[in-house]
């Protein structure tokens, strides 16, 4: 009896081993996101989205029958950890491509690692430095800050406002925004009359706004991510600031309206189209992608997918496209990503080339205004 049992067992395990050997090995993709730490508002939706997309792909049978295995690590927004984990993905997990990191700082730290290892990486961070100058193995999906700045300045020029005050947060997001605001001001004939900053953990910005109120500024542009801009909105209301307030795409989520409350009314900001997907005309190329993303995210996580998760959606989808066009090695995947033309994703319509690894133009942004706790398009 016992002999029979053991024979059965051996036979069974042999079959198991054989069936495993026959199934194609999964394609390994690495992901680095700042799931904890100060940038978790980026990393968490990004990780969720990446996991969701991979789930959907595998459920549909993978790409050409090959499943995808996603290996995600949390950088905590710490550049040192990001470097270590990138090394781990490449050397231990042998991934063929990496998506992320979430922040510009983490991305800049990881770039030398992927360049040397020749592994394609699609960053989800916005800093213009990432793809300017172009690095052979590095792409990005988040819209450049410069595009958001251009969108705001165009509107100001239309309204013939020439004097603005800027109030930026002193972290990498704010610093990059500040740089772009200052760099592009002259081209739009705009004069920056007050240039102030605030700390990411500050709880009161009335001092800066009082200074702005005392200046000749015709508009305020605040560049930061939650909760700072919500405090700015509330403080502006407290001080009775009458000039229009512009924010960055860093606060383009319902959370901002929730935090700022009544003070959010009338505030304008440039954002990717995901916030206003329903308001877009049917002819919009991105509409299908946007609606798919929003629907899937709601199904998986029971909350609304946001702008930031969209960066990871685009990155995963670009990889999927590249792989389904037959690329399996890192070099081939890189080549196929660079050959992407007119891919309508969440952040915009991507067209990469050897000279452009950011892939978007300023149509990626629309200008919205907060009205009655919701978003309306500014035409």
């Amino acid at each position: 009896m016992r002999k029979l049992l053991s024979t059965c067992l051996v036979g069974f395990s042999l079959i198991l081993a054989a069936s495993q050997a026959f199934a194609a090995a999964p394609i390994k993709i690495g992901a680095l996101f700042a799931v904890t730490g100060p940038a978790s508002f980026l990393g968490e939706p990004e990780r969720n989205t990446a996991v969701m997309v991979v789930d959907e792909i595998n459920r549909a049978g993978g790409i050409h029958g090959q499943k995808i295995e996603l290996i995600t690590y949390d950088t905590g927004g710490d550049a040192t950890k990001a470097v270590q984990l990138a090394n781990k993905l490449i050397k231990n997990d042998h991934v063929v491509a990496i998506i992320g990191p979430s922040t510009t700082g983490d991305t800049m730290a990881v770039i030398p690692v992927v360049e040397k290892a020749q592994i394609p990486m699609i960053s989800c961070a916005a800093g213009i430095k990432i793809t300017d100058p172009v690095k052979k193995w590095v792409f990005k999906t988040a819209q450049n800050d410069s595009l958001a700045v251009a969108r705001i300045f165009e509107e100001l020029r239309k309204e013939r406002k020439t004097k603005v005050a800027i109030l930026t947060v002193s972290d990498s997001f704010g610093a990059s925004g500040r740089e772009q605001l200052k760099a592009q001001a002259r081209r739009y004939g705009i004069d920056i009359v007050v240039d102030d900053t605030y700390g990411p953990k500050d709880t009161d910005m009335t001092a800066q706004l009082t200074k702005i109120r005392g200046s000749h500024a015709q508009a305020v542009i605040c560049w930061g991510t939650n909760p700072g801009p919500a405090v700015v909105a509330r403080n502006a209301k407290q001080l009775g600031l009458t000039i229009p307030v512009y924010m960055s795409h860093g606060v383009s989520s319902k959370k901002f309206i929730e935090l700022a409350g009544d003070a959010a009314e009338g505030i304008r900001l440039p954002t990717g189209k995901v916030l206003v997907a329903d308001l877009l005309p049917k002819s919009d190329k991105q509409k299908a992608s946007l609606q798919a993303f929003i629907r899937d995210y709601k199904k998986h996580y029971r909350t609304e997918g946001d702008h930031f998760g969209g960066h990871a959606w685009d990155a995963m989808m670009l990889l999927k496209e590249a792989i389904s066009r037959g690329a399996t090695t890192p070099a081939a995947i890189r080549g196929q990503i660079e050959a992407t033309r007119g891919f309508a994703g969440i952040g915009g319509v991507f067209t990469y080339s050897a000279k452009d690894h950011a892939g978007l133009n300023k149509d990626a942004f629309v200008l919205v205004e907060v009205r009655k706790k919701g978003w309306t398009l500014v035409k």
Partner: protein, 325 residues
């Protein structure tokens, strides 16, 4: 007595040589893997933990601003080599000397303080340094960081892969360890321990407590600055988040877990905490909780750190068993 001391010194030498051998061979099994990369950071952290331990474990002076010296070293090297295209080695020496001088100067007023006041003052220094890294955008690149820092090289030999960098960093770390061992076993070391136990008694015995504390503070800043320079040249990118208050706390944890007042304890602490994220990956998001629990329970139950705690535990268990029999 003298003979005993000689024997002790000899065993110290053997210990150090064995340790050197371990360091030399450690990365070979994973030369191609990712672990050799982690071991570089273990080296950097060892230097930092060592610097802090000299101050904390031997002189009993707490510092919550150790990341400031680390950051000054890294930014000093980073800025001088990228913005002013200075020779990296020259920059490293220049930076180390200036940071040491800076520490020497602020050491006098800072180390006059005690306990919580000292903690607060060093914390203040750390925060001011971090703000300076963030705000001097033209020089440091501000919050977005500074990239394009060159790798170190000697003649035509460039330290451009993990294994080379491992030996570079650990070469420095071993020298730092050797110097620290000598310092600890010297007259200064004994004076420091006296200060730790009772500063008043030490002063009565003729120990110039003030000068001695400042000397150790300076030496500890020097090691940290060197670690910073090495970090900058190995990673080739630096940003202010790598030198924040959280990093100072992490260093403190390394020293406490490894063993206060033990040179090898610092290295053990650095090794464990650098590998901890790897070990805690099984806990996923719970790692921050495990981290906090470790810090509390270690301080309560193993105040001597692992270096002393493990033999102690062993000793306690063995006689207990004998008693039962």
């Amino acid at each position: 007595m003298a003979k005993k001391k000689k024997v002790a010194l000899k065993s110290d030498k053997i210990k150090f040589l064995v340790f050197c051998l371990v360091v030399l061979l450690a990365p070979l099994p994973f030369a191609k893997g990712y672990l050799s990369n982690v071991l570089i950071f273990v080296g950097v952290n060892s230097m930092l933990a060592l610097g802090l331990n000299l101050l904390l474990g031997y002189a009993g002076q707490i510092s919550l601003g150790q990341a400031a010296f680390f950051g000054l070293g890294a930014y000093g090297s980073g800025v001088l080599t990228t913005q002013f295209t200075m020779n990296p080695w020259l920059a490293m020496v220049l930076v180390a000397v200036s940071v040491a001088l800076f520490a020497f100067l602020i050491g006098f007023p800072v180390l006059k303080l005690k306990g919580h006041y000292l903690a607060m003052a060093t914390l203040g220094v750390g925060i001011i340094a971090n703000i300076a890294f963030n705000e001097t955008v033209d020089l440091t690149g501000g919050p977005s960081g500074l990239s394009g820092i060159p790798n170190l090289s000697i003649g035509g030999f460039t330290f451009d892969n993990d294994l080379k960098n491992y030996y570079l960093v650990w070469g420095f770390a071993l020298v730092a360890i050797l110097l620290s061992l000598n310092l600890v076993n010297s007259r200064v070391g004994r004076g420091l321990r006296a200060i730790h136990d009772s500063e008043v008694a030490a002063r009565v015995m003729g120990v110039n407590a003030r000068i001695m504390k400042v000397q150790v503070f300076t030496f500890s800043a020097l090691i940290s600055a060197l670690a910073g320079s090495l970090y900058a040249h190995v990673v080739t990118f630096i940003s202010p988040t790598s030198f924040s208050f959280a990093v100072s706390v992490e260093l403190l944890t390394m020293v406490v877990i490894g063993g206060l007042g033990s040179v090898y304890g610092s290295i053990l602490g650095a090794l464990l905490l650098t590998l901890l994220p790897e070990l805690l990956r099984a806990f996923q998001d719970f790692d921050i909780i495990v981290y906090g629990l470790l810090l509390i329970s270690m301080t309560i139950y193993l105040p001597g750190g692992l270096v002393r705690g493990i033999p102690e535990l062993f000793r306690r268990l063995v006689p207990a068993r004998r008693g039962n029999a």
